[in-house]
Amino acid sequence: MTRERALTYAMWVVIAIYIGIAIYVFWYFGFTKLPSPI
């Protein structure tokens, strides 16, 4: 595996982690902390 390809994979992993954090943050604040809409 070339260094460039490894870097590309690493960046995809970073993007996946970011999306995971976003899901967690919205679940945490949006669905458990902020008031229910009803």
Binding site: A22, F26, F29
Partner: protein, 545 residues
């Protein structure tokens, strides 16, 4: 069959060098329809034209007489909201100029690092142009800041006296950092190419950190107006500290300081990225030589990617910010989420949705030729799907939660089944995922192949980048207005009221703030463009980009 210019039109599925202008018309139509429905239908039916001064009149009766205005009200001859209009214009315009540094400094640092890692001249040229652009416009931002301070002192003397006294130390730090910031960025521009790589990076980091902490210093004040550190203002003995140190810390490091600070940085990065794209598109049209066109096409793409990156971070910080307001200033949360200012949040999230749609359209159109050439119809279809799904998410996000009452849970209001916050949280997540994946695909999958294409910019992608530039700036001043009106009718929430009572209602009404936005954007963009014309580097004919 031929077109009016005698050329054969492209077959379905083939690349059209003009791009699909219908998509651009669709974006502009969506924007116009959204604003018309918002102003003609949603705002009146959510009580958006009713002032917070009127709605919170009983609360105002309980204000401490010490914080009522002692001096006569200074009129500015612009009607009942005249003073607020003055402040809104000067501070929102200031934000547009200040964000050049807060966001631009980090993008400039990225250019410095990319330049020294890749040795590609274009990074250096754009970085140096940006440094000079920010050096020149530093004075504009500082001028509006100083004007804002003067207006606060003149128009709201009691608030200014209390506020500037509580925040003396942070404001002193801010003032000193004005000097340090311009020292760094001026030196960076002046020494560009004359000092080592390490010095460039040092100056770039120094510039970014000085503006970061300068914003942090003023944010102690700005956030403290919404979530004050105490229930009232209690002064102590004369001396270096006007109140006990722990009390100061409560005021300065109040509950919304950090979320506001980080949200501002992300918003400023997004703003500056989209602004680069906007100016690059104007230069692209302005220049006729192919090297310049290639350079500005690349710069536009670089800006859009930064704009999108800043954009997808904001909702995460935004929901943290909203939760902090909910937990510590519940009434202000009600004002902007379930009350008469909720339309502002709809406008903001509507712009955010439209920005993701516009960025998707930009990449559909900008990479069309490359993707056809590479035979990557899968990516073409993914980009198209992103634009459609982002549009659907945006449609969910702009749904009003209720109509027919000032507060969402007033008796007799109509609850919109599509306006549930749970749906909106999911829709925002969808936009974040789309924006992040677009960045990933463009940077990681197409990287290396994009260089073949610079200069080959279709009219549709050119227009999409321009629209993104305008929306990216407009959303910033909408956010500023949201925070201001969440606080109304208070200057320090539930402590210092906006002076004048019912005779001088706040916030600035929706139609008047619209005019303020147009003036602020018009002025700022004129200054940005004319400054950019003299600060921008354009490749010479013989140079390769």
């Amino acid at each position: 069959m031929t077109t009016q210019t005698g050329k054969t039109p492209p077959a379905p599925g083939e690349y059209d060098p003009h791009g699909d202008i219908k998509k651009i018309v669709g974006i502009l139509a969506a924007l116009a329809i959204f604003i018309i429905i918002l102003y003609a239908y949603i705002i009146p039916l959510q009580g958006g034209f009713v002032s917070s001064t009127s709605i919170r009149s009983e609360d105002l009766l309980g204000a401490d007489p010490r914080f009522e205005e002692q001096l006569p009200i200074q009129e500015v001859d612009l009607g009942a909201s005249g003073r607020s209009i003055f402040i809104a214009f000067v501070m929102l315009t200031h934000i547009l100029f200040a964000n050049l540094h807060l966001g631009g400094a980090w993008i400039l640092l990225s250019l410095i690092i990319l330049y020294f890692i890749s040795s590609k001249e274009r990074y250096g040229h754009l970085g140096r142009s940006m440094a000079l652009f920010n050096v020149i416009l530093f004075s504009a931002g500082a001028t509006f800041a100083a004007a804002g301070v003067l207006f606060f002192i003149s128009l709201y003397p009691t608030f200014a006296t209390q506020g500037f006294h509580i925040y003396w130390w942070p404001l002193l730090v801010e003032a000193i950092l004005f000097g340090i910031e311009i020292l760094f960025v001026y030196t960076l521009w002046f020494a560009w190419g004359k000092v080592s790589a390490a010095w460039h990076i040092f100056l770039g980091i120094g510039y970014a950190l000085s503006i970061y902490f300068q914003t942090f210093a003023i944010d102690t004040f700005v956030s403290g107006m919404l979530t004050p550190g105490a229930a009232t203002i209690t002064w102590g003995e004369p001396g270096l500290l006007g109140m006990p140190w722990v009390d100061y810390l409560q005021w300065w490091f109040n509950p919304t300081l950090w979320p506001l600070q980080f949200h501002r940085v992300a918003a400023a990065i997004s703003f500056f990225g989209f602004l680069i794209a906007f100016l690059a598109m104007l230069h692209f049209r302005d220049r006729t030589d192919p090297p310049s066109k290639k350079y500005w096409d690349w710069a536009g793409s670089f800006g859009i990617l930064w704009g999108l990156a800043g954009l997808v971070i904001q909702p995460l910080l935004g929901i943290w910010y909203m939760y902090s307001i909910f937990a510590h200033q519940n009434q202000a949360f009600a004002n902007i989420m379930t009350g008469p200012r909720a339309w502002e949040m709809l406008m903001m999230i509507g712009f955010l949705s439209l920005l993701v749609v516009t960025a998707s359209v930009y990449f559909i159109e900008r990479r069309e030729h490359l993707l056809v050439k590479l035979g990557r119809h899968d990516i073409r279809n993914v980009f198209r799907a992103f634009a459609i799904v982002a549009g659907v998410a945006g449609f969910i996000l702009v749904q009003p939660a209720w109509l027919g009452g000032i507060m969402q849970f007033d008796p007799g209001t109509w609850a919109n089944p599509l306006g549930l916050m749970y749906y909106k949280h999911i829709a925002i997540l969808v936009l974040i995922v789309i924006g992040t994946l677009i960045i990933g695909i463009d940077l990681l999958v197409l990287r290396g192949r994009r260089d073949e294409e610079w200069g080959n910019l279709s009219r549709a992608s050119w227009a999409a980048a321009l629209i993104a530039g305008v929306l990216g700036s407009w959303i910033v001043i909408v956010m500023g207005y949201v925070r201001e009106s969440a606080r109304s009718p208070w200057l320090f929430y539930k402590i210092v009221p906006v002076p004048g009572g019912q005779t001088y209602p706040t916030p600035v009404p929706p139609h008047q703030i619209f005019v303020v936005w147009m003036f602020a954007l018009g002025l700022a963009f004129a200054v940005f463009w004319f400054t950019s014309r003299v600060t921008s580097y354009h490749p010479e004919q013989e140079e390769k980009v």
